[in-house]
Structures are given as structure tokens and as C-alpha cells.
Symmetry: none
Subunit: 223 residues, 2 copies
DNA sequence: CTTTATTTTTAGCCTTGTCTAAAATATTTT
DNA sequence: AAAATATTTTAGACAAGGCTAAAAATAAAG
């Protein structure tokens, strides 16, 4: 397959993150994101357009083409798999993984990435809770997930409780959990799949898997 | 610390491998090794000299300085740790690891490499049997000899292959030879210095001197 | 509907790392 | 020792990816 320079990849990834569902990205926005002068951005836009990765008309803004989006998802897949590896296997803390992953994401070997994915057990979310695209660029769009499957030490917001039996609500009340509560999973005990949970700076506590699997959370929307 | 470009690192590593214990490396040798024209090599030699990594005088050949050697060992450490990771954790076969490691070796993060080393259990040899320098650049040496010089009918363990060209690997694969294989030399043919080799109870086979001299073995460690 | 301000593009320059062709130096042969 | 050959360096060019300053296009004010 065709491959792209580190610089091209960084532009593609940044454009992907800036363009939402619709609407155009502007030269200045991208310039700010990449900390590169607007004139340099314009140069690269022309190159990416020539390579058919970008829909771009002078002065009119731009968005990735279908092909460009595909390339972006490949880069994001690599980035997030490496972040997961660093966090889960090398015990990096979740705020240290990003910078190293910025470098590792540019190592291109399909085999490397697919074997890494397998080695890691096909994780669906990176240490920040962002979804990891699969081999085909599919991303888990689950708005909410059970706390039994979220990564460790990442604060998330309770948005759903899948069982409203009185005994269940009793436990939730006792532990100060309600919709909107922000909590993180500190440890998973493989023996009985129980979880150690912490809310803010409070004393951590244990939830059995029976309870935990009914508690669903979503990413905290940051501004 | 100071860091170097991918290109600089590739030059430094190549020079390290070309310069033995003593004697000068020539521009043409390095040019051949890197598949780069001699004129380009001369340019880089000047840059490395300016950065005090190289002892170099026009027309007189060159060797790495003490600092240059230190940098080289760091690159080799990264390369071989990644090769070990690919082989041991991702189940790459030992002839697939090199090309990917060529890319990974240029990712610079001391923490990444030291954590990786720890995760892998501080391995001392890569999948080709080459020693992995430790944090301080120390390399373990095991006593090894080429199979062209070992006594007949003494089983020994393959611990190093001195040539990783694809054609070489093809022959090794065909004959089921890899690092760790135990074999013995049954006969030496004086006419062309070819050897008759036997692995365990398998059918013996012949290796030309061309091939055999790149295969190194050590005593079998028993415990 | 002009004038002004902002955004974007063009034009020209710089650095890194590569190349080819030609000149300089070193080595080998006669 | 001179000539022929091989090696190495210099000179000049180019592509990628960045920059500044100026021009062109668009958007916002008056
Ligand atoms: Mn990240
Ligand atoms: Mn990046
Ligand atoms: Mn290697
Ligand atoms: Mn390399």
C-alpha cells in the first residue's frame, strides 16, 4: 500500500480530529492545532489534495476524503493501541502515554499492529477511554459501557443503571453512586471480577461483579 | 540529552558495525553499507565530526569517538530489545524482526526503553544471538566459535548467525537451523571446506563453507 | 456599498539529506 | 618516478517541510 510521511500523517490526524460530522476546517484552525504557520499548512493542503486525501478548494476550507478518513483511522488505531500497551504492559501512568505514542504511531507495519492488537487482547478503548478502531476502521460507538470493561484509573461519569431492584439501589445509595457521579476503577480483582472503585478523593470501596455489571458510564465531556 | 535524527542514527550505527576493534572505516565502505552515494556520506561525516561523535580527517578514514560509541550502543540497545519483544511477545519469526526494529529503534524515550527492558525480563541476547547492551552500554559476551572450527561429533548450541541476508536465512530455514538449535559436525571435507551437519537424530546434510562460517555455536549449558 | 480588518495564499528563503558531475588526493602499475 | 586508476571531496542541484513578508481574497464594519 501507499504510505505517508510522518508530517503528512500528523496533518491527516489533526484534520480528522478537527472536522466533526460536517462543516469545513479552516487553515488557521489547523495551523493552531499543529503549531505550524498558516503558509506551511497551505503548502501541505495542496500536497494532500494532490494525493486525493483531501477535498480542498482555495479559500473554501477543507475536509478529508473517504480515503483520507481511512488513513486517519489507521493512524489513530496505531496511536491508541500503543497507548494501551504503554499503560497496560509497561505500567506508564495514563498521562505519560500520549507523547511516546505520538512517535510510535508512525511506525508502519500492518503485521506489527495486528499482532500487537492480538497480544493486547483486542482492546476497544485506550487509557483515556477513547475507542480504538479495528483492522477495518470500525470504531466502537458505544456511548456507554459497563464499568466492568473500562480502563483503570480513568474517571468517567455514571449515566445508566441497568437494574433498579431495591437491593441494588440500596447498595448504590450506601456508596454514594447516582447518575452523574464521577468515578474511576482503581483495580480489577481477577479472582471474582470484583472492582475497587473511587469517587473523587473519597476512600475507595469494593463492588462485586454482580453489582458492577449493571453500572454504566460514559466519557466525561470536556470543554 | 542531545538527540539525533533518524539519518544520523543510521550512520552512527553503521559506522559502529563497520569499525572493529581498530583500523579505519572508509567512505566507500560506509557508502556501500548504507546504499548512499559517497558524496552524501562525506557530507554526513562532516556533520558528525562537528558534533564530536566522529574522529575524522579528510582522506584519512574515520572512527567513532567515545561519545559516538556511546550513542551507537544506545541505538543497538533499542534495536535488539525491540527484536526480542517482537519475537518473544508478538510471536514474529526471527527473520521478520529486523525490518520492524529498524523503525522502532528510532523512537527515543529513555523511560520507554528501560520499562520495555524490565517488561521483557532484562534479556541479554536478541533473537539472532547478539548481545543487548544494558542501560550503561555494557554488553554480555558468551564464548562462541564458528562451526567451521569446532571438533567433530560434539553437540553444540547455535547462538549467533553472522549474516542475516535473506538468502542465508532461506538456507537456515530449509535446514531447520535457528538460535538454540543443537547440532554437531560429522565430517569436514577438505576439498571445499564444506561440512556435514547433523541435528539430533535427523538425516545429516551438507553446508558449504560460505554458509557454515556464519554459524556460531557455544557449549551446551546444562543445569 | 465602500472601507477596514482578517484570513488565506503566493513568493522567496532556509535546513536537512540526498543526488550527479567534476576536481582533488591517494594508491597502484608500469 | 611517471602514468594510470581508484577513492574521496567539492560544487551545484533538488525535494520535503518549515519560515517570513507581501499580495490576494474574503468577511466585517461603517
Ligand atoms: Mn493520545
Ligand atoms: Mn503524530
Ligand atoms: Mn537486527
Ligand atoms: Mn535504523
Amino acid at each position: 500500500m501507499t504510505s505517508y510521511s510522518t508530517s503528512e500523517e500528523n496533518y491527516i490526524k489533526a484534520i480528522y480530529h478537527l472536522q466533526g460530522e460536517e462543516g469545513m476546517v479552516t487553515t488557521n484552525e489547523l495551523s493552531a492545532e499543529l503549531k505550524t504557520r498558516p503558509a506551511s499548512v497551505t503548502d501541505m493542503l495542496k500536497k494532500l489534495k494532490a494525493k486525493k486525501l483531501l477535498n480542498y478548494e482555495k479559500y473554501q476550507g477543507f475536509r478529508l476524503s473517504t480515503e483520507g478518513r481511512k488513513v486517519a483511522l489507521g493512524i489513530i488505531r496505531r496511536h491508541r493501541l500503543w497507548e494501551f500497551f504503554l499503560s497496560e504492559k509497561l505500567r506508564f501512568s495514563w498521562d505519560e502515554v500520549h507523547d511516546v505514542a505520538e512517535q510510535l504511531e508512525h511506525v508502519t507495519s500492518k503485521k506489527l499492529i495486528d499482532k500487537l492488537d492480538e497480544f493486547l487482547g483486542f482492546p476497544r478503548f485506550d487509557p483515556h477511554g477513547d475507542p480504538i478502531p479495528d483492522q477495518h476502521g470500525k470504531i466502537a460507538t458505544h456511548e456507554r459501557v459497563s464499568i466492568t470493561v473500562i480502563p483503570l484509573n480513568h474517571s468517567m461519569e455514571v449515566c445508566h443503571v441497568g437494574n433498579q431492584a431495591p437491593d441494588m439501589l440500596d447498595i448504590l445509595k450506601h456508596n454514594n453512586i447516582s447518575i452523574g457521579t464521577r468515578l474511576e476503577v482503581r483495580k480489577k480483582f481477577a479472582f471474582d471480577n470484583s472492582l475497587e472503585i473511587r469517587i473523587g478523593r473519597q476512600q475507595p470501596f469494593i463492588l462485586s461483579n454482580e453489582v458492577a455489571r449493571h453500572i454504566w458510564v460514559k466519557k466525561i465531556e470536556r470543554s
